[in-house]
């Protein structure tokens, strides 16, 4: 495993300088971290709840009803809003956020639901849509960044993909955030690394000089340069939480997800555009309550610490945080004390990035008899809201490789969530 201080090797800068044109480095520039509040370029943090979290055990409890199970409700810092008692720390933060309790989709299968909730489009055999983060990275490139601007933290069954925008917009995957970074340290000492790169330079020139047009398309030299830049970038320290005070680390919780949320905050400070932090294990077909208790023990402290941190550092206005999974779970509790897949009337929490706060949209039937929630919100509308908030026009179209124009989002932004 690579340790962080070791990875940032100043000598490497000299090394690259000696290489000549091909693998020379871009000049370092000022960081997004220097600006705050509304002037800051906006970022997205997606907290991905893989498996499909139960709305009833999270943001839409119905205590004392047949469908409510063992979950109690607690009041929050947002007047009139109650959430599951499994989330006491989030209760303190809810006044900064909004809740949608009436998301509706037609995809009740993990794979298809994940695709829809990650891209805003239903699966289509003819093309792969880009994920939310990939669209942002594509539309809002950050020139000052030496690390990827679309990053997935923690193990995820489906990290965001570039889709038809190209693999270069795939999320850069860090499986164990705050602990290790894969493949970022050269295997040999600087002197040998220099010899290696010199040889690579000669080989690249042979190939490229014979095929100038092709070489620009392969992006090989480009990605090699990016990789070398990243390997020696001081910005890599954003992935490390070693220099965070112990109290801060404790607040996020000693879990992979907690470390991921802390790293996400550091990446935002560095100016990274889109980050997803993954929390797996919500597929509670049996023992639903125990499973959600265990998930909440990781999600509650990490999410709350993240929001609190963003507020304290004046970063929330420029950082949209969205917590969501591929669908919700059935009001009915099955014989195994589990809940099954439920794509109508599930919940998400979102806030920051310039959105207003304290809004609750939609309601589900406490008896569980009515399938459809009141005031339903489509996944596409949620996407349009996120894109508009981050400064994109959802109606703008990409021309896909198959020649079909495709809007950034097919939905309509929810005006109610915008700042009054």
């Amino acid at each position: 495993m690579t340790s962080f201080p070791d990875m940032i090797r100043r000598d490497a800068l000299k090394l690259a300088a000696g290489l000549g044109l091909s693998f020379s480095l871009p000049a370092m520039d000022s960081r997004a971290a220097n600006s705050r509040g509304a002037e800051r370029p906006k970022s997205l943090i997606l907290l991905w709840m893989a498996g499909g979290p139960s709305q009833l055990e999270t943001w839409d409890p119905h205590p004392g009803t047949k469908i409510g199970g063992d979950t109690q409700a607690i009041a929050t810092s947002q007047r009139g809003l109650q959430i599951s008692s499994l989330y006491p720390r989030m209760a303190e933060q809810m006044r900064h956020l909004n809740v949608i309790r009436s998301l509706v989709s037609e995809e009740g299968d993990h794979e298809r639901g994940t695709y829809l909730l990650k891209t805003g489009y239903r699966p289509d055999v003819k093309l792969t849509h880009p994920s939310m983060g990939a669209v942002l990275a594509h539309e809002l490139p950050t020139s000052k960044l030496e690390i990827p601007d679309h990053i997935s933290l923690g193990s995820s069954p489906a990290p965001g993909r570039g889709g038809y925008l190209g693999d270069q917009f795939d999320a850069f995957k860090v499986y164990d955030p705050g602990r290790s970074l894969p493949n970022l340290r050269a295997r040999v000492r600087d002197e040998r690394q220099q010899r290696r790169l010199a040889a690579l330079d000669v080989l690249s020139q042979t190939f490229a000089s014979r095929r100038p047009q092709v070489s620009s398309r392969t992006l090989h030299q480009h990605t090699t340069k990016q990789a070398l830049t990243m390997m020696q970038s001081e910005q890599l320290s954003a992935f490390s939480i070693e220099d965070e005070p112990e109290a801060v680390r404790d607040a996020y919780g000693d879990s992979q997800f907690g470390r991921g949320c802390l790293v996400a905050r550091r990446l935002v400070e560095q100016g990274v555009r889109a980050i997803e932090v993954n929390l797996d294990g919500f597929d509670s077909h049996a023992n639903n309550h125990e499973i959600h208790e265990s998930r909440a023990s990781e999600l509650d402290p990490a999410f709350a610490a993240l929001v609190n941190d963003l507020v304290e550092r004046d970063l929330l206005d420029s950082t949209l945080v969205l917590c969501i999974g591929e669908f919700g779970r059935t009001p009915k509790i099955n014989p195994l004390a589990g809940r099954d897949h439920w794509p109508t009337g599930f919940s998400c929490v979102l806030g920051g990035g310039g959105l207003g706060s304290g809004v609750v949209i939609g309601a589900t039937d406490p008896t569980g008899k009515k399938k459809d929630p009141t005031d339903p919100v489509s996944v596409a509308d949620l996407f349009a809201t996120v894109f508009q908030t981050l400064g994109l026009d959802p109606a703008e179209e990409f021309l896909t490789p198959i020649g079909r124009p495709m809007a950034i989002s097919s939905g309509t932004p929810l005006e109610r969530l915008q700042k009054a």
Binding site: K173, A199, T206, R210, T223, M230, P401
Partner: protein
């Protein structure tokens, strides 16, 4: 990223037996290089016809084709396309010492008769038939399915027969592995007829009907009722204790394919029907037998065009018509797909012959370099196959090539068990980390930073470029040869070519005055650069 280091030894022991048994069952292949092509393989007319078609097209668009690529470059392409790896030094030496005529075509036949071709192509075809998903555990055995396809390719079974079996075979997914094509679409206790219909037309006819699945196709003339009519051919397919069977009756009642009408929400019966070519549909037989006969009918041009396009794509890294599963309707004027398709059909749907024809024709033998400097003109050349396209290698091809480059000897079914098992595990791991192309494997893709980092600093490339007594790097470093010879061999092993003058000058300087372990380190560094350069991970 130390993940594969830990499991490899215990897993070696655990699975060694299984691997040993399955590999022991494999037949050995002849390594002899044919001195003549078999008479029935005479390709003269087919190749000439293909070449003529391209000559016409190039002169029509005023294009100047590239010069011919040198034989070693073509040899590398062939190995990558047919075996998924670059050629070994051993093979390169034998190839270079073959001075009889038609060297490339004879060696292509040799590649095709090699077990590695059957295994590699079976995996490629399996992707087009059933995708990469795992299906329902127990009822779907992908490994058996791929092995079955590999067996068909080894026996050179006509392609139309393979397809008929995929659609119409009855039996158990274990004993009759072709039925995995069907069981792969079994979920929630029933066959997904729509998924099967969709896969059938995509894989075998190069047509996408998935839009018609939920509404009328927005671009083409395919409609929802036509799609439902096709799905109905799978409406009698049932899973019983003895496997997959077609049943016309259940409990004495006729079995109908029913769907819910979206407007009225009523159940309605859909009878089997085909969207075109009704005259090719036999009146008698089980529903799947009839569908198989219709799909593979000699007049169904889409059938032969689809496989020709796909094979072209697997050989060039890019199909003639993109995407492979949504091709436009054939036109009245026969095009290249029709020319190759007819020859394929007239020669008993012989896949090996099709591959030999395509790889012997002019476009496959052209260089990927071209003197045209103007970008737009250059792309026009590429679009019309007047220059060989540069495409990214699949993850398995990159890993196969890295492993092969690390060994002087050919890694194939005759290598010892240890080498192969290590290879198996390394491949799985690397492919996962490198990112699999999944279903859309013939789509154009560029590389990512993660992949570059993995190639530069990952554990596997590091291990493979170490100068150990058994590795090619070690052998080259410690052999008594001159630096010049050392460089030549290193280039042949990694890039299937010798260095250019510029490369020679630059790299000899790195080797000069280095002895013993220092020389080994210098060779390791050169090998690292060779595995990391663009040329290594792109087909050209």
């Amino acid at each position: 990223m130390n993940r594969f280091r830990l499991p490899i030894l215990p897993l070696l022991v655990l699975t060694g037996v299984i691997v040993a048994v399955s590999w022991a069952a494999r037949s050995s292949v002849s390594r002899a290089i044919p001195t003549n092509l078999p008479r029935e393989m005479s390709l003269g007319n087919a190749i000439a016809e293909v070449d003529r078609k391209f000559d016409e097209e190039w002169s029509k668009f005023d294009l100047e084709p590239s010069a011919l690529a040198d034989d070693l470059t073509v040899f590398r392409r062939l190995s990558l396309a047919l075996h998924g790896t670059i050629p070994s030094l051993e093979e390169i030496r034998r190839f270079e010492s073959d001075d009889k005529p038609d060297r490339l075509t004879r060696w292509t036949l040799n590649r095709l008769r090699d077990r590695r071709f059957a295994d590699y192509f079976a995996e490629r075809l399996a992707r087009s038939f059933v995708g990469t998903e795992d299906g329902q555990f127990v009822l779907y055995r992908r490994d058996r399915f791929v092995n079955w396809l590999s067996q068909r390719l080894r026996e050179n079974e006509p392609y139309n027969e393979i397809v008929k079996r995929l659609i119409a075979t009855d039996g158990l997914w274990t004993g009759d592995p072709a039925t995995n094509f069907l069981t792969a679409a079994f979920s929630n206790d029933e066959f997904d007829e729509e998924k099967l219909a969709s896969r059938t037309v995509r894989a075998f006819l190069g047509q996408s009907m998935d839009c018609a699945q939920c509404h009328d196709h927005p671009f083409d003339k395919w409609t929802q009722p036509q799609f439902q009519g096709l799905a109905s051919f799978y409406g009698h397919t049932q899973l019983q204790f003895d496997g997959v069977r077609d049943f016309g009756f259940v409990d004495g009642e006729p079995l109908e394919y029913m769907i819910e009408d979206r407007e009225t929400l009523e159940q309605k019966t859909i009878s089997p029907a085909v969207p075109f070519g009704e005259e090719w549909l036999p009146a008698k037989g089980s529903r799947r037998d009839r569908l198989a006969a219709w799909i593979t009918h000699a007049e169904n041009r889409r059938f032969e065009r689809a496989i020709v396009n796909r094979v072209w794509g697997l050989l060039f890294g890019r199909p003639l018509v993109q995407p492979v599963d949504d091709m436009p309707d054939p036109s009245d004027e026969p095009d290249l797909l029709d020319i190759l398709g007819r020859d394929f059909r007239e020669h008993n749907y012989d896949l090996r012959r099709l591959i030999l024809t395509i790889t012997s024709s002019k476009p496959f033998r052209l260089a990927s370099t071209h003197s045209e400097t103007e970008a737009r003109r250059f792309w026009t050349h590429e679009e019309h196959s007047a220059v060989f396209p540069v495409t990214r290698l699949r993850p398995e091809q990159v890993i196969g090539s890295m492993l092969q480059a690390a060994s002087v000897k050919t890694i194939d079914q005759q290598s010892n068990l240890l080498v192969r098992t290590v290879r198996f595990f390394r491949e799985q791991d690397f492919v996962r980390d490198f990112g699999d192309a999944e279903g859309d494997e013939l789509a154009e893709r560029a590389g990512t930073v993660s992949q570059t980092l993995l190639r530069m600093n990952g554990n596997l490339p590091h291990e493979l470029t170490k100068a150990t007594p058994l590795s090619s790097v070690g052998r080259i470093a410690h052999s008594a040869g001159t630096n010049e010879e050392c460089l030549d061999v290193l280039f042949l092993v990694c890039l299937t070519r010798r260095p250019t003058e510029a490369e020679r000058t630059a790299m000899l300087a790195q080797l000069e005055g280095q002895y013993g372990n220092n020389r080994a380190r210098a060779v390791e560094d050169l090998a690292w650069a060779l595995l990391n350069c663009e040329e290594f991970s792109w087909n050209h």
